[in-house]
Symmetry: C2
Subunit: 502 residues, 2 copies
């Protein structure tokens, strides 16, 4: 059917063609169905929506994504042709019923994800099937390779070292220490990382307080080769772009299927030509991984997949039962990282960062096995890591002389105090995350939580347990309202609940 | 945030509020997030989409569904407030990880489905979780009751009899015989049925060839009480409306989780006050249920659920390994049903219809146990069923004197002949369905397939095996192209494939 293009300025994250209801009926398509849309020599596949008035009969509404694909102008002639389901939907169905997918089948799915041939519903069915049925190592390997195949690859011409955390523990700003330590030791560590999806601050969010993290592939390469390291957002680099689409669908469902988690991390590493990789697996109550058994299983998978992909992987299982350090939220975390680089900062942050950095130093032959942590600590204490961090900040367009106190944090504050004397027995990750996010993090960079007490601390009634920071009072209220239902910090002697409730 | 309403004529099947990207960032929401939208005294929950131009900063685009909810005019002041995830998403998550849901939890999910508080992604996660983890009988009972609770209930003031097929076998027009047979025996059988979702013709599609099937609840009651039976589309009656939303999400994923299937059927029956119900479970290769064991399990579930709901259920397991009768597609099936009522028609159709109708006659005490089929056959052969069907057609606004040959079928035709002499060993349901749908059924009422041979028939080379009917030549081509890859009808002696392919 030949229709006139009507440009519609909605960005749906997929290719949407909006047909008038009557035209849709005429060519026998319904919402969620697929059509080919052709304009001159350009063809694209789109998902159908219908409208009775926005798009008149004879017109086809084209969303932003399609306009770009087809380079179409208002009123251009566009041909719309119903198309059968892509073959990849059959493979998704196979996985849905517990089948094992071949490399070719996985490749077809990933290709159709990247080319927007699959609807969000179909992608979610694939992800949920992974969650329910799992994937074996061959499937995960194929998934990883296909995600890399349909994206950019950055080659630095030198062995690349990297560190990655599987996430799930708040306040985990260790990359801001590890990258400069490792780079100061002469190893190349061009770290790309994510913005927060469900946490109050991803590494890229925290780094964005100090410097520009939105680098092009060329800039990333230039910065990394010049100063030995960088901390950039992966989102602008088109590395394994299928992953971004998978994440966009995982996010509203708050799922993170393990095969996808593994493939996602390893695909980004393969795409940045990483050869030596340390993976941090925070483990403990409220973290993504709750038991040591699970952590060990997951580590074994990363190591095996690394072998298959030619990446030397070491995993560090770390304590993830409470936040790392004291600060949660972009600005508060950036402050804390800087303080640690300057010789201060909380012990838990320094210990964890040097332990993981030490593994990389050993893998890079900087020191013999068993001496990495010591060497990392030495680089940190000597001020070389701070110096390197300032070089990285400068190379990424930030102020190299930034001091912790220069970093603005939210000016609305709520202080939580101990209701009684006692020892802290629990700092609940999930509640801290929810409070920090309710306070506005990561979008409001100055929002977050500053812990004054962690597990094992002895406190007296009235001592400050934590401060909540926000940039807007409505957000502060939202965050404070969570406190009425959930205790983020438990003092051993306190009443957890009274019954009947009053 | 207070914004100006901008009415957008898209119907998305959910409540979409389109915010300008900047406003969305300001209030901290992203696509798929939920907001409350308030206009004067009306409040509704909507799912966020974003736009950079269609909706200007300071505006909020409201889709059709929201416009109706809020009774809003262009430019009206509307307040948009971010809202937390509804509690039901936590229950969906519980099911996602294999938990058992309480009646209250299921009720919360169904309520939020009906009130459009859940996104398609969340609903699909619930349905896929049912598919993967199943549901026990208490959960199915709760699901059924909640689906009824949030919809209309029609009370006829008399005991209601009904027949339902779980579907999955093409050509199953038995309701067009059963309803008039049962009604002619004096039992009340106000049948509501679905339009085709994945089949070439639902009972409502077939009936729509003969009469109006889009009745209001009042009309349905009037027709049924006047002539004793009707065959209407359930879609206009708002019976268990949650079910329609579940189906809308199941459709693009082509899934039909068993707990949902059972609850869906029983909810519609409960909502039409059915007391005595015969369920047809077509069983065989290519049907929804492939083995007798599975059919018996499913029957036991329907019977147990019936007990819990106060519905007297009998299940008939029927042969579903090939199409019922010869005709597949709305007009062809309507013709065939009418022929059968007039004393002709294929034996398989007549046998199956009278067997199931007989069960209802026994349940209604019209005859003693064991004599139902005989009685049903007598009513059919006597012409009373035909007479009753003509009354039903007339009461539903159709032509009571319609003859089979009056019913128009598609004028494009392709004939498939036997490639060799032999016995028919297989008529493949799925291929027949795909061919009939490709030919245009059910939207093109005249499209479909007419089988001239079924399993066991002896044919000679060149004999007609089937005819494909279409209203448009492009559709006919689509249907014929399926034949090049798949054999809908297998003659024992024929080559199924040659290797290497040529």
């Amino acid at each position: 059917m030949i229709l006139k293009a009507h440009l519609i300025d909605i960005s749906t994250g997929r290719r949407s063609a909006i047909l008038n209801e009557k035209d849709a009926e005429k060519i026998g398509v319904a919402p969620h169905d697929r059509v080919k849309v052709r304009c001159k020599s350009k063809v694209s596949t789109a998902i159908v929506d219908t409208s009775s008035k926005l798009v008149a009969p004879g017109q086809v509404g084209l969303c932003k994504e399609l306009q770009e694909d087809l380079q179409v102008k208002e009123g251009d002639e566009v041909e719309v042709i119903p198309t059968p389901l892509p073959q990849s939907t059959i493979y998704i169905r196979k996985k849905m019923f517990g089948g094992k997918l071949t490399p070719e089948e996985i490749d077809a799915i990933v290709k159709d994800v990247v080319e927007y041939n699959l609807s969000d519903l179909e992608i979610s069915a694939f992800l949920l099937s992974e969650l329910f049925h799992g994937m074996d190592m061959s499937e995960i390997e194929s998934l990883t390779k296909s995600m890399v195949k349909y994206g950019e690859i950055i080659d630095f011409g030198r062995p690349v070292y990297d560190k990655h955390s599987i996430g799930g523990v708040p306040g985990n700003k260790v990359s801001l220490l590890i990258v400069p330590i490792v780079a100061a030791a002469g190893l190349l560590i061009p770290k790309t990382s994510s913005k927060a999806i469900t946490s109050p601050s991803g590494t890229a969010d925290t780094m964005s307080v100090l410097a520009n993290v939105e680098l092009t592939a060329e800039e990333l390469k230039e910065v990394a080769l010049k100063v030995g390291g960088c901390i950039a957002w992966g989102g602008t680099l088109n590395l394994a772009p299928a992953d971004d689409i998978f994440i966009r669908v995982e996010h509203p469902l708050r799922i993170d299927p393990e095969p996808q988690l593994i493939a996602s991390i390893m695909a980004k590493k393969l795409a940045t030509s990483v050869k030596h990789l340390v993976i941090d697996i925070p483990t403990g109550k409220g973290a993504k991984v709750e038991t040591m058994e699970h952590a060990r299983e997951l580590a074994a998978k990363f190591i095996e997949l690394g072998n298959r992909l030619g990446i030397n992987v070491k995993c560090g299982i770390t304590y993830g039962g409470q936040p790392v350090g004291h600060a949660v939220g972009p600005a508060l975390e950036a402050r804390e990282a800087l303080e640690a680089l300057m010789g201060g900062g909380p012990m838990s942050l320094v210990e964890k960062s040097t332990a993981l950095a030490g593994l990389l130093l050993e893998m890079g032959g900087v020191v013999a096995k068993g001496f990495g942590k010591e060497k990392a600590m030495e680089i940190l204490r000597s001020g070389k890591a701070l110096q390197k961090m300032r070089e990285i900040i400068e190379a990424q367009g930030g102020d190299p002389n930034v001091k912790p106190e220069d970093i603005p944090v939210g000016d609305r504050k709520h202080v939580v105090t101990a209701p009684c004397d006692g020892y802290i027995t629990q700092v609940d990750n999930k509640t801290i995350v929810d409070i920090a996010r309710a306070a506005g993090a990561p979008a409001d960079k100055g929002a977050g939580v500053l812990l004054h007490a962690k597990v094992g601390y002895k406190v007296k009634k009235g001592d400050v347990l934590m401060e909540i920071y926000a940039e807007r009072s409505t957000k502060l209220q939202d965050a404070v309202s969570i406190l009425s239902q959930r205790n983020p910090i438990v003092v051993e002697g306190m009443l957890l609940q009274t019954l009947p409730e009053y």
